[in-house]
Subunit: 379 residues, 2 copies
Amino acid sequence: MESSAPPRVHLDNGGRAPWHPLAREALLQALDDGWADPRRLHAEGRRAARLLDGAREAVAAVLGARTEEVRFTHGHTAALHRAVTAGAAGRRRGGRRIVVGATERAAVLHAADAAGERETVAVDRLGRADAGAFAAAVSRPGVALAALQHANGEVGTVQPVEGVHDAARAAGVPLLVDAGASLGHARVPATWDLLAADPADWGGPAGVGVLAARGRVRLPGTGPEDPEPWAPGGVSVPLAFASAVALEAVQADLAAAGAHRRELVDRIRAAVAGVPDVEVVGDPDTRLPHVVTFSFLYVDGEALVTELDRQGFAVGSGSACTASTLEPSHVLAAMGVLTHGNVRIALDRATSEADVERFLAVLPPAVERVREALGVRGL
Amino acid sequence: MESSAPPRVHLDNGGRAPWHPLAREALLQALDDGWADPRRLHAEGRRAARLLDGAREAVAAVLGARTEEVRFTHGHTAALHRAVTAGAAGRRRGGRRIVVGATERAAVLHAADAAGERETVAVDRLGRADAGAFAAAVSRPGVALAALQHANGEVGTVQPVEGVHDAARAAGVPLLVDAGASLGHARVPATWDLLAADPADWGGPAGVGVLAARGRVRLPGTGPEDPEPWAPGGVSVPLAFASAVALEAVQADLAAAGAHRRELVDRIRAAVAGVPDVEVVGDPDTRLPHVVTFSFLYVDGEALVTELDRQGFAVGSGSACTASTLEPSHVLAAMGVLTHGNVRIALDRATSEADVERFLAVLPPAVERVREALGVRGL
């Protein structure tokens, strides 16, 4: 890269954010102290086990859970799969229906289809499930499990998990809360029976996930032959330890980092709304502090991501991930908003006002260029 | 640790070895270059994808496979589960029997039970499956998959995979070769249709595994909703990259490191055989270069591991892993040898002759002390 070129701005920090500096340091320490198998009896194994237990304890403290209620998995997708499968199986006597929000992650929707009979609760145009409708669905007989995300990682909208948890508890149905887009960015309420969270989303490593289950939730394992059904074969202790250290670091700064990014998102929402033929989606107020999504008419999402990348800005898109997932976002479809020409911004804690202003200066001409290439004249 | 104390000697390097120095360097590089999601379209994502593809290419070169035949998984156990499940499903029309060796890993045995009908081929007292019996079992109608490890990680015995692969191929049955204890330590023959290997065993990280499938093996995925059925949600690119760099490093030195450790194992086998009431197990010749196992009469394995740990030596044991797996080793049981009082040694490339001599000096009195504590007088 030439020294005269402005530095790249990475605005795609949802799900896979750059490493928090303290997570990197923690990883290096754990490479030395935690390389051994924590299931072994010797000193090296016991040292690795202590690091792993310490990591569980740190995550539990943030969640308001007990250490033994927190496990590490092989990633967020694995945690969601396991939570749905085991949560549904644990209540099999109560029925096989699994009630989910329409904007849950694909991993939850597919696991629910595989583990039982899925009942999907619709969301409104802001992406929010109606608490009353969700509570009613959970309260009917035959429900094994309910799943509602704390906040949606694509559009930022926060869901009414507290009210839904009250209803689920009254019905004796465990509630899985996917906090994969929120833990590390916003306070996560304690109103869950199962909870999954994603270290890679808060500046920790990919390749490890968090799954918590309240002691009152009875989860069947896969039998004595598999001492770690949450993560067959075990997890990387250095990754787990780095995850916990990153979480402690971002929690210490949660309010300030949230307020800073909330203002930047407000600025982006206001400025983008001025671009012709755009729809800014998601709840403008009850939302994650760092996520904002908008869709342009007459624009191909993949082309726009590529054009912005050429200009030095990395952004996400609900309709441009990889060749194999180039289908329209089911989240945007469920909200009834534009599903193409989509840009998803997830701000890092380090994103500055100057970064945002540079992006906002580059965005309208980039949209214009993509429209021109498609033969659509700007207004 | 006091400076006057001799350094600890780690002799439990099977399955979770200390990091190879080059793997550590590679990890640090990949933390900078490979933190992004390799499925993303922007520059950071493409850079991570290049690192991941490079890692697949490097592993493929060692295996004599094509890059697209090699995938990373969430660990060795996950690779074995996936290989058995997908391998059996891919041939479902051909039958549902899965032929396995008696000393395969628990992950293979349990996955075979879950995916079909398991037929287990016995091993002899050295731990070797009879090639003729295995070939006959594979050749009968109704077999979906066969699984035979290249070498056993507990006792070191090498299996006749070449001959079995000839028979499997003639019968049109895919052969899964578990190279989890051998890749990085010995030449792995190219006679496989599916192969699983374990980076943590060769000085790479835990939390990532290798699964290779020949192009002629048709493996069903889990559908378009899951672009990476091998590793739902994806793997850690830094861990995958570090795995590949470690493998290249140990392959460059394979013959020398093998010869050095083979001699040390010969020395251990000879010396341990002189301890009263001991059985040294596994094939003394056709074996892994670095693994040796022996069992003592009148000794509790966990107590002996703990006593040796106190003396500064970390060893493994087939009967002392964690509280949840304190059952006798199914490998030793299948061989018809002593299943208790077991010590498993897996030498590191860096293990020196002096380390081994110190261990051999400490072992007999340690055995004696454990026997005395149990009320058994030494001979």
